[in-house]
Each structure stands twice: as C-alpha cells, then as structure tokens.
C-alpha cells in the first residue's frame, strides 16, 4: 500500500516537472529473475529526476540520461533495483519478486496492513501451503498450521462439516464457528443438510487452489471490525489476483489412494464363539430363564434362541466390508497475468475424492475469474466470480444402524452373504449396513456462486473510496432413497426424500480510506464505512414412500407422499465501522476501531451494539538505544483490548410468536414464544498482550501472545414459571472465560543451497464456565456445561475396575472417597474427564536442496479425553451379541484374575452401564502432511517450453501416534440434530465414528 502510494506520488511529480537536459541514450530489456519472462510496464526512472519511461510490450525501454546517472527500476510486486549506467549504452535488468513485500502484508477487515504494524493477533497462512494437499476442504489443510486455531473433523466422512475453534469456545448455546470472509464478503458457512444427519460443509465449495492467503483474526483489536460476529474469530480468505506481466499458466494434476488411518481389532469367529458361550454359561439371566422359568432347556437351547448360527459358525470380518481403498484425483488449471491497467486470474479445478467408507464420496468442479482494471489513475473496478458444483455422497449419521461402521457390531459367526440366496445376509443380529450401501443413497448436490464486484475511487492521493457488492448464492438439493430391502425402506416399500435449500446471502461494503504521513513523524491510516448484509434461506422438503421397485427412485413414483413443506427465514445486519491506525516515529503504534452492528435477530430495545477495540504497539528494536544490540533484529511489544459479539442464535429468538396448528380439521394458532425485547448479542471482552521478535537477522523469529477472553451475557434458554404459558425464553445470562498462550516460532536453520527452516506453533487454552445461573446443560452422551468446569466435561459414574474375587464391575461411591461399590445405582456421578485439550499445535519443517523440496508437517493435540459411547456395546464383556473389541478377551475368569474387564455374563449388565470405563486419553501426534517435490532445472523445462515443472509426492495423515484404542483420536460425533449447543458441549465423543483417511498422492505442476 505504502509502496503504491509512493509510486503514484512520484508519477504525479513526474508529470508536473519539466524535462531535463540529456547527454546519452541508454536502452535495455527488463525480465523477471524467477523465470526470465519479459516484464512490460516497468517504470524506469533516472534517479533524482522526473525523467522516466515504462517498458513496452517486449519489456524494452530507451531513455536519454546523464552519463553518470543511476537508473531506478520499479514494478509492482518486485524489488526496486538501482543500476548505475556508468556510460553503458545497454542496461538489461532482472527484477526479483519482492518476497518481503508480499509476505509482510496481512489482510484485515476492509483493508490491509503491514505485518510489522499490526497490534493485534493475526495468524497468516499462505495459499501455497494449501495447494496440493489431498483434502477437499480448506480447513483440513489449515490443521496444525496456525497457533490457537483448533480444527477437528467430526469424522473421516468426506464432505462433512468441520469444527473450528479459535482461542476456545466462547459460547455455550450459540455457534462457536468463526466468521468466514472471502474477498471482503462474509459467506454462508453453516450446515444445510437434511435433519438427522451430520452437518454439511459449505466451505468445501471453495477450491483451495484459488486461495492466495488466509488471515485469521484472533484478538479483539483485529476482529472487532466485524463486531457482533467476531467473538469466535474471523477467517479472512483472499483469492488470487493476476499481476501485470506475462501470462502465467499453471496446470496441475495429482492422484492418489487413501485408506483408514487405523482399524480396530475385533473378535474373530472362534474367539467370538468362545466368549459367547462363556458369557451364556456364567449368566444369571440365562440361568433364571432355564432353571426358574423353564423358558430354555439348557444353554444350547438359549443360544439357539439368540443366535442359531453358533452351531455352524463362519468367520466373517465385517469391518473389512465397509472400509475400502479410497481414491483421490485433482486437476487444476489457472492462468494469470495482465498489464498495468488490467490484471486477471482465471482458475478451474476438478476434485474427486472417494472416501474410505463405502458409499461416501465428494466431487467438486469449480471455476473462478478475478479481474481488476484501472480505468484511470482515479478509478479501479473489478470483479471476482466463482462458480462451483459439488456432489457429496453421504452416509447415515454415526448414531444409525445404517452408518457403515456400525457394521462392526455384527456377529463374526454370521455370514456376510446369505448361503441360500447368495445375496447380502438380511438375517444378521442388527441391520446389515451393506444392504444400505447397496440399496440406498443420500446425495447432496450444491451449486455455489460466490461473487463480488467493486469500484474504488482515488478521490485524492490520500483519500480513496471503495464500494463492494458481494453475493453468495448457495443452492443445494439433497436427495435420498432407501430401497425396499433397507431398514428404513422395508416397512414402507421404499422411502424417498428430497430437500432443496436456497441461501441468498448478499453484502455491500462502502468505505473510505485515508492514508497520510506528516513528515517522518506521523503516519495515519483511517477507514470509515458501512455495510449491509442480508441472508435469505428458503427450503422445500418432500418425502414419499411406497415405490413400485428399487428402479424407481423419484418421488413421482411414490404411492404416498408422506410429507411436504416449504419454509423460509432471513436475517440482516446493518453496520457502521471505523478504524484508525496511527504511527508515531514509525515505532509507536496506536490502533482504534469500532463497529456498530444492528441485527434483525435482536430485541427491539437492543437492536444496535457497539464493539470498540484498542491496540497499542511499540517497535522497541527501532529505538536509538537498541541500535547497538545486534543480535536483536526485530522486537515489538503489543497489547490490545476490545469487545466483540456473537449473534449466532435463531433468527427470531427475541420475538413473541404464534405458529399454526390444526384441530378438528380447522386451522388455529398457538403462541410458541414470548417476546424478549432486551435480547442481544453475547459480549466477549478480550485482552491480548504479545511480543514479536526477530533474532540474528531474523534467522529466529516468532510471536508469543497471552490472551484472556471473558464472555458475558451468554445466550441461554432460561426456564421460567410455566404459569406464564411458556417454559423458557432465550435470555442473556451467564459467563465463561478462555485464557491461554500462543507461541509461534520460525527458525532458518540452514540457508543457502541446502536450506532448512522450522516453524513451530503451540497453543494452550483454558476454558471455564463461570456462571450459568445454576443451570446444568447436558448434551452429547455424558457431556455437561456446568459452572466451575470447562465446557463439555464428562460427567458420569466413575468405573473402578473389577473385583478380583468375584469378577463384578466396581464403581467409586463418590468423588471424595476411594470406596467402591458393585451397586451402580449407589455410585454418584462426578466429573471424570475433559474433552478440551491442554495444548495443541503443529511443527513444520521445510527443506530444499537444488531442485528438491521437502516439507513435513506434524500436528499434535494433548491432554484431551475421549468418551467412546459405543463402548457400552462393543467393549462390554459380551453382555449381548454385539461383536467385541479384542481387549475383551482379558475378561475376569476366576478368582484372583486382575483385569479391567468384568466377568462375561450375558445380559446381566456387569459393568456395561454408562460410566468412565470408556474414557481414554485422546492425545495424539500426527504426521499431517509430508510433501517431497522436485523442480526441474530451468533449462530442461525451457526445452519443453515450460517455465517450471515440478513433480511431487504428498502424504496426508501419514502416521498417527496415540493411546486411544478406537479407530482415530480425531473424533467428534455430532449425533442427530446438529445444533450449536450439541456440538459445543457434546465434544470428544466417539460413536462408531469413522477414522481419518491416510492419503498418498503423486502430482505434477506445469508452469508456462
């Protein structure tokens, strides 16, 4: 920004002064150092004069200068070079890309800022880091790359919504997902799927290859410009732009295979038979049926009743039936370039990922055009246009018999194929999910258009006005069909559903920017403007049943349309914002910002909220007294404080409303909610203090931040006397806090031909709910939100192992004593675990040598616990017919056995009730990404008329080290009804949740 301004100054200056006397002519050609391409439009200036010219289409110039002149070559995005003429007639110049200038700008709300001057806390990830990562969604590629940004997939199902937490959970019932802003336009990022399934991921419609950079605004002073939506942080995504010069083409192709990170050992047929018989023989329930009721003659007879296959057992490995080798394929093509007036970026890509679970896949085809045009010195216009179509083949939610991984519950002694028919066995102990995979589908097809047009006007060199209009159009049709032999379709002769949802989300931003310097002392960068955003959602839903046969899947063939409805909702936000960044002596930094947000969601008496923030910074290393300290190349102290909000609740929670009902064939209305005119946003007051430093000429650089986020006025459903006719209202009560440390450290270990750099990011967050007005909010399997504890603690009875004498399961009586009991009912519930990690982060190592590059990203999460809610069934000492994990073979068998697995007693419920028995350490260290690339030498590439050729091999999730005995420690089953409260509180729970994919891909990129 500063550079451009300087440039325009000079140009104006040049126009206003008269010509100079000349003595000689110098000419030459300007090319790019990186690939030798010619550079038209480079400003060539005789130093200290206004005498200058720009290079022509061939990158050539010719200029009359003084013989002792020095030429200055300037070009946007390149390092300015000064070359003394020394009497030469020809001066050819190669310009290098200005890495420093490119990297050191961060995109903040409604503008950019030099990284050096930022007083807030912003994590930046370059688009290059996201390219070629074999995952369809950008959040997965971000994992482990930004300090304080926790990214957690719900499961390994592709296309599923991903949980992102920036500096912890700031809310209990409202969404904790950050705000996503693409090129200045906040986009739709919440779930749009059919109810009863896991959330969909609207961010998967963005092609990571189109992304130039991602800047994550974490603290209040950087985020509060987004006001009532900033408490969860803001993720600013900037897409690629063209640069003046030669048109660069880039073609990439990659393909790979994937498989599950892990499989769990279950009993095989013989082991199952052995444990099953033992369980029957030791069961008091079976004994009661035999000896007291005479219902069964003996154990054999009882086993015949439950699972007659025990007489002719087979050895089926059900788990292997639902996992498959997934595949990954991506093609992307882009072209970018332009001239001084017009630049463009055009990109297109196709991405096809077959999941590791049968029936699960994601496919995206997308295109983008970004155009910028300088109509004159004063006016710039431009447009970003993107279009994507994605198709997600979804599978049932984790808590459904039809979900692929619940197949592990099936008995290994039952055959996969029915021996009589040769078809899939329909007579398994639970529903055979393979039938679902064969006869059912659930496809979500999305058409997505995220576009923007803008115009910018330089009213004066210091004052610009920018107006943007953005549109995010999301059209999704989700169609599902369950065939006549599936669990859902069988009773009704086939079951079809169709849901269409249309989300039109438009935004306009209009703002002035004023940028000035007074001498060398003061510098001011001010922004003031307004924004209006509205999002309309319309949905239709139809379901039908009774199909002639499974060849008919459209609802037109349903004999009975069982449900049909349409619905619509909307919300809007009207905002005014201002920011001033003032810099004194280029080292004292002051930043003030504020946003006023008016939201349609809030109560009549609290329509508008004000969100101010202040940031202070001191670049200590620029002080005179620091000049002798040579090892310290950069030192900045910074602090910020500000207020942000969260308004992610229902669109009409503040209203008193009536809904329609019917009685005796007549329509009526009933009140469903009572007005709360005081309802407003949740308020988060965040303090941040940090230091940024560079040592030994920036060989070591880093940032350390401490923050404290106090959220108050939590949006909670509060119980009220039901004599009012209502049982609860949404009110602003309650408080919670998050505080923690973030460290990011980069070292240039080796420079030169063999270079090696290391980047570590580390974050530690402590969450505590400080006030819920005494309420205890349960969600998930055993999670709670309760005062004095972190959000989502596990709260249940504490398992105390097995009595070595009897084989009975034991529980702790209460939290205060070590006393145990066999009486489950007598044991008190207590806090038994915490799904929130103690710390997490990533470690990135980059190596390069000649044409080779190697990057290794490790990601770690530590101190969190996982509750395996399926343990009650699959690790339950053969209490029922469910196949058991192999560790259940360690069951207690005779007095004196020391084990954690109680005696197997069929249906006796020995230790099988919900308890801490299935809570495990969820810490893990993961090889997130490894990429080894080789770039062909220029001359070889050149022979093929290429400017660059790179081949690479990339491995995602290439190893995982964990003590978690389940499939994968990155689990977060959403269960049914994915609402914010459930995902906020119900964290860290596994329920037949699919593991992540381990992907190995090879690829090639051509540039020309």
């Amino acid at each position: 920004m500063k550079k451009e301004l300087l440039l325009s100054f000079l140009m104006i200056f040049a126009l206003m002064t008269s010509a100079w006397a000349q003595a000689q002519t110098v000419s030459g050609r300007v090319t790019a150092a990186s690939d030798g391409s010619i550079l038209p439009g480079v400003t060539v200036l005789e130093k200290g004069t206004t005498n200058g010219i720009t290079t022509d289409a061939n990158g050539e110039y010719r200029l009359n200068v003084q013989p002792n002149a020095t030429l200055v070559f300037r070009f946007i995005g390149m390092t300015t070079q000064e070359v003394p003429v020394n009497g030469r007639a020809t001066v050819d110049v190669q310009l290098r890309a200005d890495e420093k200038q490119l990297q050191e700008v961060v995109v903040v709300g409604y503008g950019t800022q030099e990284k050096r001057d930022v007083t807030g806390s912003v994590a930046s990830v370059s688009g290059e880091d996201l390219e070629n990562v074999p995952t369809p969604s950008l959040e997965s590629a971000l994992q482990g790359r930004a300090a304080g940004v926790q990214i957690e997939s719900g499961s390994g199902k592709v296309g599923q919504g991903i949980k992102v937490r920036i500096r912890g959970s700031a809310s209990v019932t409202a969404s904790n997902q950050p705000l996503y802003v693409v090129d200045g336009i906040p986009i739709t990022s919440d779930n749009q799927g059919i109810a009863n399934n896991e959330p969909t991921n609207p961010l998967a419609d963005l092609d990571p290859n189109d992304i130039e950079s991602i800047d994550i605004l974490k603290d209040a002073s950087s985020a509060s410009i987004y006001g009532s939506r900033a408490s969860n942080g803001v993720v600013i995504i900037t897409t690629k732009k063209g640069r003046a010069g030669k048109t660069n083409f880039n073609v990439g192709y990659s393909a790979g295979v994937s498989k599950a990170t892990n499989k769990v050992d279950f009993l095989n047929g013989p082991e199952y038979s052995e444990l099953l018989r033992e369980s029957f023989e030791r069961s008091s329930t079976i004994d009661f049926y035999i000896n007291d009721l005479g219902f069964f003659a003996d154990v054999d007879d009882a086993m015949d009743y439950f699972i007659p296959e025990w007489r002719n057992p087979v050895n089926s490995n059900w788990q292997d039936e639902v996992f498959r080798n997934g595949s990954y394929q991506e093609v992307n093509v882009s072209a970018s370039g332009g001239n001084e007036k017009t630049t463009f970026y055009v990109g297109g890509s196709y991405n096809d990922q077959e999941g590791i679970l049968i029936g699960n896949a994601f496919e995206r085809i997308s295109g983008r055009i970004n155009l910028d045009h300088k109509a004159s010195d004063k006016i710039t216009v431009g447009a970003n246009f993107s279009l994507a179509r994605s198709e997600n083949n979804r599978v049932a939610n984790d808590n459904a018999f039809a979900t692929p991984l619940q197949i592990v519950a099936l008995a290994p002694i039952q055959p996969i194929l029915d021996p009589e028919t040769g078809e899939l066995n329909p007579n398994t102990i639970y529903y055979n999910g393979l039938i679902e995979a064969r006869d059912a589908f659930d496809d979500a097809r999305v058409y997505r258009n995220i576009s923007k047009v803008y115009g910018a006007l330089n009213i004066t060199p210091k004052l610009t006005f920018r107006s943007e209009f953005g549109l995010d159009l999301l059209n999704q049709e989700e169609e599902s069909y369950q065939g006549r032999q599936t669990q859902g379709g069988e009773p009704v002769g086939g079951l079809g559903e169709m849901r269409n949802v249309n989300v039109v989300n438009y935004t306009t931003n209009n703002f002035f920017n004023y940028n000035t310097e007074f001498g060398d002392i003061h510098s001011l960068d001010g922004t003031v403007g307004m924004s209006y955003q509205r999002s309309n959602t319309n949905a239709t839903y139809v379901s039908g049943q009774g199909f002639p046969n499974d060849d008919f899947k459209k609802l037109a063939s349903a004999s009975d349309i069982t449900s049909g409805s349409s619905s619509g909702t909307a919300n809007s936000l009207l905002s005014y914002f201002a920011r001033a960044n003032y810099k004194l002596y280029d080292r004292y930094l002051f930043s003030l910002s504020a946003r006023v947000d008016g939201s349609s969601r809030f109560g009549a008496d609290n329509k508008y909220g004000v969100f101010p923030a202040i940031g202070l910074g001191w670049i200590v290393s620029d002080e005179a007294f620091m000049q002798g300290v040579d090892f310290l190349s950069f030192l900045k102290l910074k602090t910020s404080y500000g207020i942000t909000g969260n308004q992610e609740i229902g669109n009409f929670d503040s209203r008193g409303l009536y809904s329609g009902i019917s009685y005796a064939g007549t329509s009526g209305i009933i009140p469903i909610s009572v007005e709360n005119p005081d309802l407003q946003w949740e308020t988060t007051k965040q303090f941040d203090a940090g230091v940024s430093f560079g040592l030994f000429n920036d060989r070591i650089s880093g940032t350390v931040d401490y923050y404290q986020k106090n959220t108050e006025d939590l949006l909670l459903n509060v119980q009220v006397p039901s004599t009012t006719g209502f049982t609860s209202i949404t009110k602003n009560v309650g408080k919670l806090e998050n505080k923690g440390w973030e460290v990011s450290l980069t070292t240039q270990n080796l420079t030169g031909d063999f270079s090696w750099s290391t980047t570590l990011n580390y974050a530690r967050n402590r969450n505590e709910i400080t006030d819920l007005q005494g309420q205890v909010i349960r969600a998930g399997a055993i999670n709670r939100a309760v005062e004095g504890q972190p959000i989502g603690v596990f709260f249940t009875k504490k398992y105390a192992g097995v009595d070595p004498q009897t084989g009975d399961a034991l529980y702790y009586l209460n939290a205060e004593s070590d006393e145990t009991t066999t009486d489950y009912g007598a044991a008190e519930e207590q806090v038994v675990g915490d799904p929130n990690p103690d710390f997490q982060g990533g470690l990135l190592n980059n190596f390069s040598f000649k044409g080779f590059d190697l990057s290794v990203l490790l990601q770690f999460v530590s101190g969190n616990e996982i509750y395996n809610n399926a343990g009650r069934f699959q690790s339950a000492n053969m209490d029922y017919l469910d196949n058991q994990t192999s560790d259940q073979l360690d069951r207690w068998q005779q007095p004196g056995d020391i084990t954690d697995v109680p005696e197997a007693r069929f249906l006796d419920g020995n230790g099988t009730a919900t308890s801490s028995r299935w809570i495990y350490d969820g810490s893990y260290l993961r090889g997130k990404n490894l990429t080894l690339g080789y770039t062909l030498p220029k001359d070889i590439a050149g022979k093929a008329h290429m400017s660059s050729v790179r081949v690479y091999l990339t491995a995602q999730n290439f190893f995982t080290i964990t003590d978690y005995p389940g499939w994968d420690p990155e689990v977060n089953t959403q269960g049914t009804g994915p609402n914010a409260q459930r995902s906020n509180i119900g964290a860290g729970t596994d329920f037949y949740t699919a593991p992540q994919a381990k992907t190995l891909a090879v690829g090639v990129n051509f540039g020309f």
């Binding site: 004159s376 004063k378 006016i379 006007l457 009213i459 006005f465 107006s467 306009t508 209009n510 307004m530 209006y532 509205r534 619905s567 619509g568 909702t569 909307a570 919300n571 809007s572 936000l573 009207l574 008016g598 939201s599 349609s600 329509k607 669109n651 009409f652 209203r655 008193g656 409303l657 009536y658 809904s659 329609g660 009902i661 019917s662 009685y663 005796a664 064939g665 007549t666 329509s667 009526g668 209305i669 009933i670 009140p671 469903i672 009572v674 007005e675 709360n676 005119p677 119980q719 009220v720 006397p721 039901s722 004599t723 009012t724 006719g725 209502f726 049982t727 209202i729």
Partner: protein, 464 residues
C-alpha cells in the same frame, strides 16, 4: 477526462451511493418470520382471535390434558390395585399408580404446563375480543374462551389442590390464578397459589358467564349446555356428601336438568355405540375431536395407546382386574360388552380403541346420574328412580322399583367406569383408596419441581 471532471463525478457518485445505502437502511432490520407471526399482529384481527381460539381447543386435546392425563391420572390415582394394574413402562404413571409420586413426576409436570399454556391462550382471546364488531360473534368467542379457562382451572384444582370436601377452602392452597395474557416475563410472574375457594369462585364465574354468553348450538365446540354440564360437575364436587340438604346438590341437579331438557342430547341405543366414534353422536355433550392429522398420539400417548391392546393399537398398559369388573356388573349388563380380553388373556377397557376417534369428556348419561343423585338428596325419589332407570334400561337391565343413594353411586361407577371420574368421586364422597384417605397428600399431585425451582413464591404440596 479532465482530473477535475473525474474528481467531481467521482465525489458525486460516492456521495450518492453512500446516501442511497444509508438512507434506505432504516427498516432493513425489520425481518418477519415466515412460518409464524408476531404476537402483536396475531390477535389484531377477528380472524386472528378466532384462530387463537381454535389453538386453545387444540391444547385441550393433547395427552397432557383430555387426550390422556385428565382421564388416566384420575383413574390411576384412584386405583388401589383391586380395580386395575399399571403394567406399563412409563415411570410417571407407575408412580401415580403406586402412590410413589415424586415432585418431578413427568405427568404432573406436563399436565400443569399444558394447562397454563391453554389458560394463556384463553386469556389472550379474552383480552382481544374487542376486535369483534359483531356482538354475537364476540359473545360466542368470549364465552368459549371463558369456558375453556373455567374447565382447565377446574381440572387443575381437582388435581393439584385438596378437594373441596376437605374443608378449609379459604385457606387450603389451590393453584395460581392467571387471568391476563403474558406479554413479557418479569418477576411479577413469580405468582403464588390462590386458595381453593378463590379458584372455585373464579372458575364458577368463568363458567357462569360462559353459560350466558354461549349460543344454543356451536358445532363440536362449547355451547351454553356444555357450560351447564361442567357447572353440574363443579357443583357436585362442591356439595357436601354428608349433607343431603346442601344447596350445591340442587344447583348441580338444575344444571344437569338444563342439559337434559334442552332436548339436544340422547343416549345411544346400545352402550358400546357411545364409544370409539369418529364424529360426535347425540350422547356427547362435549368431546375432544380426533382424526389422523390431529390427535393425542398413536404410539406413545393418547388414551387408546395406554388402554388398548387391540388390532395392533395400543401398548396395553392398563390391565383390568376380572374380579373387579365381574363384581361391579350384574349378569346381562350390556356395559360388560365394552370390556374385552386381549391376545395375552388380559382384560381391557374398550372405551378407547382407536387413536383417531373422539374422546367423550361428558356424556349425557352423566347428566342423568347427577340429576338422579341431586333429586334423591332433595327427596325427589320419583325423579331419581326415573333417571336411574333411563341409564339402566339402555344397559339392558331391568328397571329398579326402589332406589337408594348407594344404587345411584354404584350406577355411576358402572356407567362411567374408566372415564376419568374415579378420583373425583372418591374425594367428594370421602371414600378411600386402599388405606389412603380421600384427603391423603399422595392423592394430590405435586406442584412440578421445575416450577418450585424457578418460582420462589410457589409452595409445594405436603409429602413432596
């Protein structure tokens, strides 16, 4: 273009666009929901108020009120185990049957909540009737809303307060009296309980006003005679069973007489025809209308669900005692036909076999029985005998030549068995349930625990 031109044009454009955007934004935040309407507009038109009234009837229908609990809670609380057994898994009902009810009993909670929801709708309608310009319509709508509020308070006071027969009506706590619609929630909503006497006074006032306001006919909804029928029940509940001279008997008899003499209602030919009807029949004074789209539930709620185990309908949770039924009815009593033995050999009540048929709340047979009892106590034995024989004849029993009070009360038990009146007869007649006296604390429902938790001014009933 000259610089100046660009500048002025640019500035003009800037100023214009900012103006346009800012000025048109004033009302940009007013977004109304599309599946519901604001309470401010909902009741601002005659149509709105009429539909809200339908909403109040719909609330009566749910399992929380007449759909299940106003029958089942009464029958289970009145059961000592000799009449019936609760064999179902629903914990709330099991507690009621076992007299082990706790303060957060699910049934006591949901009935209380729904009753006050219904009262709030009635209060909204009552407060909005001025939108009607047509006096006839206004009177009808006001009458229906008062009627609904009156009967709901009557059901509440019978379940959550000590009975009138326990005396001390002016000091025994009843239920909170809410007579204004809720517009917002404040500390003023932490109401305390009104006395039994005050609640009765209020509901009598509501029903009496309803009786004068309501028309002679009103489809399946309340008319003036429905109000009278409920008044007859209320007076009967207030009458002192040990004092035949109690005026309340006369008042109950007069209201019952008004219903019968209206000529609008008559007994069906056969007793079984009086049940499981998809449309109202002449015997129904007031019935809850159920159909496929709107009903109390067909799998986890609704009277058919709990009582029936018949043709795939119902959970069969209420097992009748064959001894009790055999002893209650004489041989040849056609009312026995309504009972049946299910596939597992269990005797069941067949009055509710289909979740999509109407639930009779008051049948005209009850009016004959009330008039008979009132006449008897007043010494009009002729009238009493006539009314009892009307009921007996329909059941294909020989008419009596002489009638005693016990005959009349026994006839009530036979005629109205398992229709939800058992508890109220126990209480007004000061009978007992097993070893629990008519005024035992466990025969009164708890004020829901959630209510105690959020309202510091409400007191709990003894034993909870």
């Amino acid at each position: 273009m000259k610089l100046k031109n660009i500048l002025s044009k640019g500035l003009g454009f800037t100023a214009l666009s900012v103006l346009a955007l800012v000025s048109s934004c004033d009302n940009k935040l007013d977004i109304d929901p599309q599946q519901s309407i604001g309470s401010d507009v909902a009741l601002s038109t005659p149509e709105g108020v009429q539909t809200a009234l339908i909403g109040a009837y719909e609330r009566l229908q749910g399992g929380q009120l007449y759909g299940t609990n106003l029958n089942l809670v009464s029958e289970l609380l009145a059961a000592s185990g000799a009449e019936l057994q609760w064999s179902g898994t629903f914990l709330g009902y099991r507690q009621l049957f076992g007299k082990t009810t706790v303060a957060d009993n699910s049934e006591a909670t949901r009935t209380w909540i729904r009753a006050y929801e219904t009262i709030n709708i009635a209060n909204n309608v009552i407060a909005s009737v001025d939108v009607f310009e047509d006096e006839t319509t206004r009177d009808r709508v006001l009458g229906e809303a008062l009627f609904i509020r009156g009967i709901v308070y009557f059901e509440l006071i019978q379940l959550y307060g000590l009975p009138w027969s326990a005396g001390n009506q002016a000091s025994n706590p009843g239920v909170p009296l809410i007579l204004e619609p809720t517009q917002a929630i404040s500390d003023a909503d932490n109401v305390s309980r009104a006395s039994v006497a005050d609640v009765y006074a209020q509901l009598l006032d509501d029903l009496t006003r309803a009786k004068t306001l309501l028309p002679e006919s009103n489809g399946t909804r309340a008319n003036t005679y429905v109000a009278s029928a409920f008044l007859a029940r209320v007076y009967l509940q207030q009458a002192d069973a040990s004092n035949n001279a109690d005026e309340a008997f006369d008042m109950a008899g007069a209201e019952a007489d008004r219903v019968i003499e209206s000529g609008k209602y008559s007994l069906t030919q056969n007793y079984t025809e009086a049940f499981n009807n998809a449309a109202n029949i002449s015997e129904y004074v007031f019935a809850i209308q159920q159909n496929q789209q709107s009903n109390a539930g067909s799998s986890n709620d609704g009277l058919a669900t709990f009582y029936a185990d018949f043709n795939g309908v119902g959970r069969g949770d209420v097992d009748l005692s064959p001894n009790y039924v055999d002893n209650l009815y004489a041989e040849g009593d056609e009312r026995l036909d309504v009972f049946y033995v299910d596939d597992n050999g269990v005797l069941r009540n067949g009055k509710y076999l289909d979740p999509f048929t109407n639930i009779a709340v008051i049948r005209v047979a009850e009016m004959y029985l009330i008039r008979a009892e009132a006449a008897f106590r007043n010494g009009d034995l002729e009238q009493a005998l006539e009314d009892i024989n009307t009921v007996r004849t329909r059941a294909n029993l020989a008419p009596l030549a002489l009638v005693t009070l016990e005959d009349i009360l026994q006839e009530r038990r036979r005629e109205l068995a398992f229709e939800g009146l058992a508890l109220y007869d126990v209480k007004r007649l000061r009978n007992s349930v097993g070893n629990l006296a008519y005024n035992a604390p466990k025969l009164v429902l708890p004020i829901p625990q959630r209510e105690i938790d959020v309202n510091p001014n409400i007191t709990q009933n003894p034993s909870y």
